[in-house]
Symmetry: C2
Subunit: 159 residues, 2 copies
């Protein structure tokens, strides 16, 4: 993948948002989403400012881009993020169907300043029974009812 | 872990929310968060209804619980979810520090009705270079600036 000057400019905007976030009391992460060569959304991490543990830069930026475009499908967009996405954000990027990820810092860099990204990646790699978080399987024979309802619904909106 | 009748009642509420969601045009997933034996938040998947690919049941419920309690730390709470969390939601659960997960359906059940949970788990398991989504490492020597700012800020709120 050839890197262009425009790619660098978009990444620098993500980094600028991250730097500004730290100055405003937020986490040191920023992201922008680009469609057709134009930034359509750019947000920082606001976990502690908004009391929302899901408010990472990438999640916030995906939500903003989707609201602007009126869709849950960003398959015609790419994301530039100042740090390699954590599992939550990477999951969100797959669900949003973003086409490509440009990233600056790595999960090891994030671990070095105290963030749990690398720990969570390792947890997800383990089978359920070996994770530090207890998982309890409960009432699967009842839970399957919602999936049957979904499967039999001819009017569902799939994604 | 001993399963109580109360645990079953909480899971049945998550399943009820999931069933109702399908009837209202949403995805077949529901969750509740419980603190001190009481449900403090319960939400369904609203990805297609809200044009928000991050609006899974667990993420929505975590957001609601955090807003109600005024905190980004749910370490005194547990979550009951009608389906095993996807990587995005499981990441969110780790970030929110939830103490325990009760789940009904599995990621294999979700895959069987067309959801990408299992695919995304497999993608996250792979090294960056082997994922189907292209990852491009860009300007790490500039991106590290935000981490330095964070590291040197004595007033930061860590999480």
């Amino acid at each position: 993948m050839k890197i262009t000057e425009q790619d660098k400019a978009f990444m620098r905007e993500a980094i600028r948002i991250a730097d500004e976030s730290v100055k405003n009391g937020g986490g040191p992460f920023g992201a922008v989403i680009v469609k057709d060569g134009e930034i359509i959304a750019g947000r920082s991490n606001s976990v502690t400012l908004n009391n929302d543990p899901t408010a990472h830069a990438e999640v916030n930026t995906i939500r903003e881009a989707c609201q602007k475009l009126g869709t849950f499908d960003l398959s015609d967009c790419v994301i530039y993020t100042s740090c390699e996405p954590c599992p939550m954000c990477l999951g969100a990027i797959y669900w949003a169907k973003l086409r490509r990820i440009y990233y600056g810092n790595t999960k090891k860099d994030a671990a070095a300043i105290g963030f749990a990204d690398d720990f969570i990646y390792k947890e997800l790699d383990k089978p359920i029974s070996r994770r530090s978080l207890p998982f309890i399987h409960l009432l699967p024979q009842e839970a399957i009812s919602s999936f049957k309802l979904w499967d039999e619904n001819p009017d569902k909106t799939e994604y």
